[in-house]
Symmetry: C2
Subunit: 332 residues, 2 copies
């Protein structure tokens, strides 16, 4: 196995140490494996906590900072964090206005965050939970009941983060987060499987002349295998799948936020090239594009591939997207 690591069992603490050294504006609790805004708790603000298995970086730790998350919990690779971590993060960011848990829809994450919410509520902290389930590729998988949570997590964390930063109360932040999730859909394609440190080999076998449509972010196989496709064909297949299930939006002709996301091992050159095709197809189909983000944001270790996420955006969404954000991975 070729990875820049020391030992498979040390990947998570070692990476958190490096994150702490690189970002003095974050407070990294190595015991609980949580990453917290250094200025947390922010007086009067609703706290936003997310987290999940490690291996999806920059999600979630790279999205901690002003205008986005207050804290992120790091589980082992592709493994949910435990309720104690989540409860510690919740307590660290609670400033009296309550805390929103943003949870990707995987059975372990949902259960553990629910237990953490109960622990926090025992301590008098009001907690709401929003579950992200945007992936149209499969319903019910190895890890999930219902759709999986993938690229839309970035939209939920950014928009709810901006709403909380603006001083909205917990019920409104939670409602906004739910609306963002409901209006978002994703579809992913793998050119290679990923290699987990513990396994030391690819999580599934993908021949050199094939790709896999409808993959998730945990190295699980997708819904269909095909002969290698051009970027144009990948863009078409992805948008066919996403647009078939994307809500129409409140007003006719409402535009979309577009995330052209790399799975971790795909260079930016290819992602921009893919976006050229995405943009062309959306124009042809009369879908107005309001904002675009291209890069490796919601990843699956070293997997080569891409995921396209669209979010049907009303005017509030656009205002919240444009609001300032200061995190390691998203800054404007």
């Amino acid at each position: 196995m070729k990875k820049l690591i020391n030992a498979p069992e040390d990947v998570v603490p070692d990476a958190l140490r490096g994150l702490a050294a690189a970002h003095p504006e974050l407070s990294v609790d190595l015991e609980h494996r949580i990453v917290v805004r250094r200025d947390a708790p922010v007086s009067g603000k609703v706290g936003l906590v997310s987290g999940g298995g490690t291996g999806h970086e920059p999600l979630h730790s790279g999205f901690v900072g002003a205008g986005m998350l207050d804290a992120a919990c790091a589980g082992e690779v592709f493994t949910s964090p435990v309720p104690d971590q989540m409860a510690a993060a919740t307590a660290a960011v609670h400033a009296g206005a309550g805390v929103l848990h943003i949870v990707k829809n995987y059975t372990g994450d949902v259960l553990n965050f629910r237990m953490a919410a109960e622990l926090a509520e025992d301590d008098g902290i009001e907690v709401r939970q929003v579950v992200v389930d945007d992936d149209v590729a499969v319903v019910d998988s190895l890890y999930t009941a219902g759709r999986r949570g993938t690229g839309a997590t970035l939209f939920v964390e950014k928009l709810a983060g901006a709403k909380a930063e603006a001083g909205a109360p917990l019920a409104e932040v939670a409602d906004l987060a739910r609306r963002v999730n409901e209006r978002s859909r994703s579809f992913g394609v793998a050119l290679t499987a990923c290699t987990t440190p513990a396994k030391g080999g690819p999580t599934f076998d993908l021949p050199a002349d094939q790709l896999e449509l409808g993959i998730g972010i945990h190295g699980e196989p997708g819904r269909e295998r095909r002969a290698m496709m051009t970027a144009r064909e990948v863009a078409e297949a992805s948008l066919d799948a996403v647009l078939a299930e994307l809500p129409a939006g409140g007003e006719p002709g409402e535009p979309v936020l577009v995330l052209v996301n790399g799975m971790g091992g795909t260079p930016l050159l290819e992602l921009y090239l893919l976006h050229g095709e995405i943009d062309r197809i959306l124009r042809e189909r009369g879908v107005p594009v309001a904002r675009v983000l291209v890069g490796n944001y919601v990843t699956s270790l070293d997997m080569a591939g891409c995921m396209v996420t669209l979010c049907r955006a009303d005017e509030e969404f656009l205002r919240l997207w444009d609001a300032p954000v200061r995190t390691p991975a998203l800054r404007w």
Copy 2:
């Protein structure tokens, strides 16, 4: 070959089209294959132009914007742009205060930028050239006379960009750029070779249990092959090589800027983990760290691996590093 492309011969124009669609704040000239700040030429400001072969993204096109480059020229993959492109970029950004060409030290790039400077000077534009040559791994390679230009290009473009944005005259911006290069050193390590679209296979063979020390950014092999190493060992070998040739700086104990750079196919998780080791070793050796950047910035297509660049920074360097920058890949 598994890449998100349409056809090898269309990679550069297709990717530029996607870049244009994603970044309306940039003006992309598809005929000349140049990327220009939309507000260029900026009245009274020295213009900064760089460029080189495609395949190193986000370098250089992702560094175009306020506080960094005014324009970038895109060559074919791993191939220098031609003088006409560079001359067009120079004319597009000239605002009366002259233009600085920032050139990585590869024979084709140096010669073509020199010809472009002559063309521009025929049109009455004053041009200075700074050549970046920070890579300590090899002297004289397949592509270079002298040391290769790699990671320090980011430091030169950021600091000279801030200096130009602050209104400094051409001679001072050029002098600053030269000083940044002189005080910077890099060393790279590959876990895999990269695959160019034209070749369709790896540029060199690297067995599954070996890595290559001292690689460049064009898929050329390095100076030594070893059995797979831990992140700790990679950090040590890289810093041994860099620190042996890093200038001491003007004052005793001057700190360094640190770039922990991925080669394109290495996920952020591993780069942060590596930075944990880099940070620890620099502390042990008494090298103060002033600023850190971790990510895939100066890449070699889909190569897995890393490059460490240090720049000995005086107070002016730190001020210029901290100055605002608004480009696709670097924003603060």
